[in-house]
Symmetry: C2
Subunit: 452 residues, 2 copies
């Protein structure tokens, strides 16, 4: 479809282009524009109908948004900004370089500029930074009919009208009422008689991940956000909560794979930027595997006598890494979805310990048989007793799996206790520790049983 569009553009068939683009949903137009050549971007954007333009702009990625803002005339930029919800404006501003932000603020009307500056002051990743201030507020002495009329008049500019918030004259949150409840109630019923007073809310400074988890847990369409004096200052809607869950999950997966998280879309990130996100951990882990190397060097004499031991190192390290990675992934995901809480530490450790014992035993037994069936020849050729070697390898395997699972379980919990993201200590980090343990155990057992 992109080819078709560029084709229409180059043949200057604007009417066909216009009807083609405007037949799509804004998010689909945005995806096409994101992939279009940057020199055509402004022209394509100008072809959009007024209803689609702002909605499309919000859905585009920050690279395209920046190109557009830089090429907009002042009145075009102003027109877009007037159509945006404030939380979307904030999202855009947060991704832009300083000079673009300055232009955005210049083109906003003074009242909006004050609100933008207020919202920008909330810490990154806080509820305040993702909330919208465009919500419906009702008074408790309104009748249902008056409330519905109020929604009819003011609802156009609100991000959601389906949950309305009841506040007193000091903007303190008293309760909430859904449009569903309004429609199902009689016209003359008072709001205070149907409002839900047991309101679940967030504070402006709460972590946005907690906000998203609450919306998910209670199946809300929106969550009210209050300040330290319990005044209602905004709401977070379910679509924004989904975006937060999405980002946080991607961040967790990146951290677990030893990548410095990034917000930019992968296909639009340059190789150098990707390098910057990946090299720190690769470097750190490479340097730290020096210790593993040192352990091997220090047992060099033993290895020279019994080179066959080297052949089992990859299996031991690999299995240890996999066993630890399974556990850390389970625990990290459990912690981030609140399925495992810090109070469950001992329960979790005990469970992982049991699992590690039976996993370790199973693997050790299978491996013992495998060595005696498949590797017997190699071991005898190297002048060792196959059964003794098998015992050394399988004892090591058992202890490595047990240690790997306990390390994989406790490190994320400790990280969380210390206030870090548990995903930071995920498998690559744990693998490095487990590798060192595996080798130490291996050589110590070998020295004793093989008399090296």
């Amino acid at each position: 479809m992109l080819e078709q569009i560029v084709n229409l553009l180059e043949t200057k068939n604007y009417p066909a282009l216009k009807s083609l683009l405007n037949s799509l949903e804004p998010v689909d137009i945005a995806a096409l524009l994101d992939e279009a050549p940057q020199e055509h971007l402004l022209l394509l954007y100008r072809i959009l109908s007024k209803e689609n333009a702002a909605d499309t702009f919000v859905e585009m990625d920050s690279v395209s948004q920046e190109v557009l803002i830089r090429s907009f005339k002042d009145n075009e930029l102003k027109a877009v900004l007037d159509e945006l919800f404030l939380d979307d404006t904030i999202d855009i501003i947060e991704e832009m370089p300083a000079n673009v932000v300055k232009r955005i603020l210049q083109q906003s009307d003074p009242e909006t500029r004050v609100k933008i500056n207020e919202l920008l002051n909330y810490p990154k990743d806080s509820a305040g930074s993702i909330m919208t201030i465009e919500y419906v507020s009702l008074k408790k002495d309104m009748t249902v009919k008056k409330a519905i009329d109020h929604i009819r008049v003011t609802g156009v500019d609100k991000e959601t009208i389906y949950t309305c918030y009841v506040t007193d004259s000091h903007r303190k949150l008293l309760g909430l009422v859904s449009v569903r409840a309004l429609l199902l109630a009689g016209n003359h019923t008072l709001i205070e008689d149907i409002m839900e007073t047991n309101v679940i809310f967030a504070n402006t400074l709460d972590d946005k991940e907690d906000v998203a988890n609450k919306i998910n847990k209670y199946d809300f369409l929106a969550l009210p956000v209050v300040d330290n004096e319990n005044r209602l200052v905004g709401i977070v809607t379910v679509d924004d909560a989904i975006d937060v869950m999405h980002e946080e999950t991607t961040e967790d997966i990146e951290l677990m794979a030893a990548i410095v998280p990034s917000d930019r879309p992968y296909l639009k990130t340059s190789a150098w930027e990707i390098w910057k996100k990946r090299i720190p951990w690769l470097m750190l882990l490479m340097i730290s595997s020096t210790f593993t190397g040192k352990i091997i060097s220090s047992f060099e004499d033993a290895l020279q006598v019994c080179v066959i031991l080297t052949a089992f190192i990859p299996m031991l390290m690999g299995t240890g890494g996999n066993a630890g990675g399974q556990t850390s992934a389970t625990i990290i995901r459990g912690l981030s979805t609140d399925e495992i809480r810090l109070s469950d530490i001992w329960k979790t450790l005990l469970k992982e310990f049991s699992v590690s014992i039976i996993c370790g035993l199973t693997l050790a037994i299978v491996n013992f048989i495998k060595i005696l069936v498949l590797d017997k020849g190699d071991i005898i050729a190297s002048g060792q007793n196959p059964i003794t070697v098998a015992v050394v390898v399988c004892l090591t395997l058992f202890f490595t799996v047990t240690i790997a699972k306990l390390v994989g379980c406790s490190l994320p919990i400790i990280a969380k206790k210390m206030g870090f993201d548990p995903a930071v200590v995920a498998s690559p980090f744990i693998t490095t520790i487990v590798d060192a343990c595996a080798l130490l155990i291996y050589f110590e057992i070998a020295k004793i049983l093989l008399h090296l």
Copy 2:
């Protein structure tokens, strides 16, 4: 709080218990009940108010639900079933053993039973299996006033009233209209004049993950589901879509960590069941690392001459595994969020190739310096030339990183092309392949440069 509840229960202070439990949100009551001793479960459930009981039941985990269903009297079970939305009933049924399902069906009224059986026939993970059939349908010649009256009368039993679907007499989907649009339109406007006709929908057989992605992409509160004749048969609401995203992400993370995915809550899963989910991959990967061992044995003579080479094996394998893991995690996440599409294959491969070259170079250079500074003594002591050894190690490192990133990038894409979940080929699997490549390259280069 659980202690307090058990305490109130044991002292038979039921009034206090009742007011304590009923002051909470159903999902919070459910979390408490899930952790309560099973012998108290029925009593605690019976204490709940009628409004809270069914909502709490839906939110409990399947283990507790089964305990309750088994201990319910027939009329109690019937009362719960009557209160549930059909999609929730289906979710519960899917987790229960056959005899419990039989009891549920016996206690449902005949009309519901027919619908349950219809819904159960949709394939697992399809849109049909998660949709609800309780939606609001309007006719295009209704006025706004009539539509609102219709919602007022029929809305109580619907899962959402905020998006209403316009169908013809054959139940064909003509359009949709939001309650917001209804409220903002004049009373006498016709539905067909305000309905959105460019409707995005899913087919009953679509994958539920696609449904969730659509709801996320278009910021919908619900997505209509049609059958092969384009008749509207149900809707999927945003809260269920969030649950699907959640499950799918957990499944991806489990697969990426080489665990067979499971729906059961971790803390309620026995060690044996966890073992069953983890041992297949551990075993497979352990057996496949036999190849890596065989590669080492086959170079045993070379190693005996130059044992110092062994010291770098963990670093080479570790770095290769991490480099491949970074790429595969990025690609798998990109594919599952639709950020990377199959049409982007070449773009993606080219990008990963560039990244791998600069990552490989950086790591090789740093490692070269590290070897000459830190490991020089060990190498000289083992009778080798430090510079030659450093060249062997760093050349291997460079090629390993490049291969790891290309394997990490192409395997998930190939898996997706072949119709598998890309997460299946994630890092543990890739690591095994990369390990073997790393060792082969290492020994071949060593044989040439060190004349082994």
